[in-house]
Symmetry: C2
């Protein structure tokens, strides 16, 4: 079959707040083929900047847009998807945003190929089985210990067996403030529930501040401390990791969501001393590249975890990537209330079984359907003109 | 003084060809301050994608546009520029394009600060002196040996003492084809002229193909083989570099233009075995970040070289970065005929002295002025609307 259309849908809540909540807007990408099929993907990135990478005018042979790279191309096999993903990368070699942007098209190509061949994506990318994963509710800290405790209790009420708290006030006050915040989360969850903490790169390159927290949080049974430092600070990460191990502190270091391409993730795995590598399939260029990282993590003995703070379309894409690796048994699961989390795929989604686990679907493609009514409800209409000519205009899904 | 306006100008030749010629379009950024000064910077990146990073709607606390980060902010000292560059980076933490885009604003902030303080940029960023550099004419290979030889002769006629040939047919045919191409360049230049070869990442991750060329080109007196492999292929680069050194092949390996942020450049320097690191000030986030790489290169004993394929505004910005490091004595100098090379700053520019050298200007700021007539002549008028409201519209400079 041939790719006949690549359509872009920018959706957003009516009001966007200045919080670290990535479920306030999104960019969906639809790939249509000439045999009447369609596949869907989602980017975790600025929608407008990523759209521009699909439609930008050519600058030279290394700045050519994604539509130009993919439209009219043949896609009948997994090798075709990989070839086309790489083709888009070559056409956009000098476009920094290329990985964030092409992620949506890559995911959509795997989805449509799965529908065409009647196979789930996890099988197409080389897995033998789809193992169950324990989802952790991924939420933001409350503004203080009290609200954080209440959030933790609500997670228990929803029968999650693991939770991650992040961003908000952590690292903005004293060490003691941070301990009280994490203690409140632990109190609300009880001792049976896995707890992870996401510091949102708040300590920059300051190993001592991060290490103090790692020690304190380990005694509260925190599984991992995530992004204590900026993605770039590989040497500081290594120092932190070495110090934790040398002192037998029982806590893992997690990071990697800021890795926009394979080598950046590999650099973090090899040189930063991570215990968990967290990859966002909607940033790192899609399922093709995320799978490369999962394979490499397996070789290195580092646990791959998805980073996901978007819709159930992204959750589905994320879980297919590492479906067949039984030891990669945790999965981030956005648990907030945004209508852009479940709404975009309602009534389909990636739902927990009676034991609280999820797994990648055995249905063809990603195994979720996109709800066009939700797109219509939340769509932002974008129009881009160059010298008075329309380069792009949003269409009704 | 305070930043009062950040203006964006997308300029392009009437026809863009599908060649590796980056002088066919550009994005200029003008920073205006409330005391009537203005500074200019240039991005080496897709203009439309980078513009979007200046004006995109907020997605959440880590996707906020560059204008929002900088407008109204105070800028009186070098520390202010660095603080504001970092602020834009934090506002745009989850925007992959941020480094390519903010480069223009960063360069413009250094320029306007220099004008305000009456100092050249090289002094503001910590250099004591501005040393002369030998510019190499940077051109594309001809389509065959004959046209390549003619190009080489024209470079000699223009009294360049060094030249780099790149892209075009290299690596697209056999080893023998490549040798004939480089031999033609050498013949045209004569033996007294430095010759560098840019392979434009053509051998991907194939160390053997790259090594064969390195051996062959070394006997033609080639100073360096540039980008034989893709930027991501750090391990392959290391293997190639080790093999060249183990066999005493007299040729350097150069790379780094694909490094979009400091760590990516550092990864290449530390882990890829480069002899020359080539940094594009218009991609890596501006003068602030490029200077960090130059300092690091000095510490590591690797030669820093600018990558520049834009206007004299970019040449000026590039040379200020490493002005004070005498041992970094080579500089890339676009030598093609595009009106976007000299035209944008005409009649000012970075010109060769009677010995053929250039150096960073001692005038306040970058030392070049932007020619508004050229902008008017080549400007592309961009209009971006969201839900019927104008988000951005190009203005007359």
């Amino acid at each position: 079959m041939k790719i006949e259309a690549i359509d872009l849908f920018y959706i957003a809540l009516p009001e966007i707040t200045r919080t670290a909540d990535g479920t306030q807007d999104s960019l969906l990408v639809r790939v249509k083929t000439d045999n009447g099929l369609e596949g869907w993907g989602e980017c975790d990135a600025s929608p407008l900047v990523s759209m521009a990478a699909y439609v930008m005018p050519m600058s030279h042979s290394n700045i050519i847009n994604i539509r130009e790279a993919l439209l009219g191309e043949t896609i009948n096999s997994p090798a075709d998807v990989i070839r086309l993903r790489n083709r888009a990368g070559e056409y956009g070699l000098d476009v920094q945003q290329i990985d964030h942007a092409v992620a949506g098209a890559d995911i959509a190509m795997w989805d449509v190929l799965g529908k065409h061949l009647g196979e789930p994506v996890w099988k197409l990318i080389g897995h033998d089985t789809s193992y169950k994963k324990l989802p952790y509710a991924s939420v933001l800290f409350g503004d203080n210990p009290e609200t954080t405790r209440a959030i933790a209790k609500s997670i228990i009420a929803r029968k999650f067996r693991a939770a991650k708290f992040g961003w908000g006030p952590i690292g903005r006050g004293t060490l003691q403030d941070d301990i009280e915040l994490v203690q409140a989360a632990r109190d609300g969850l009880g001792n049976e529930t896995k707890l992870m903490v996401d510091a949102g790169v708040v300590w920059g390159d300051n190993v001592d501040e991060a290490y103090e927290r790692a020690v304190a949080f380990s005694s509260l049974g925190v599984t991992w401390l995530e992004e204590p430092l900026r993605t770039e600070e590989i040497n500081a990460y290594r120092e932190l990791s070495d110090k934790i191990k040398a002192n037998n502190i029982s806590i893992g270091i997690a990071g990697g969501e800021g890795a926009d391409f394979f080598r950046s993730a590999d650099d973090m795995m090899v040189n930063a001393g991570l215990d968990f590598v967290q990859i966002d399939v909607g940033r790192i260029g899609g399922i093709t590249e995320a799978k490369r990282v999962a394979d490499r993590a397996k070789d290195l003995g580092i646990q791959y975890v998805n980073h996901t703070f978007k819709s159930h379309l992204s959750i589905a894409a994320s879980v297919h990537v590492f479906a067949g690796y039984e030891e990669f048994n945790l999965t981030e699961y956005p648990a907030g209330g945004s209508p852009l989390i479940l709404g975009l795929t309602e009534p389909t989604g990636v739902f927990r079984d009676s034991q609280g686990f999820i797994k990648a679907s055995d249905s063809p493609g990603l195994g979720v359907e996109v709800n066009n009514d939700a797109i219509r409800q939340y769509q932002r209409i974008i129009k881009i003109e160059v010298d008075g000519q329309v380069l792009f205009e949003s269409e009704n899904p």
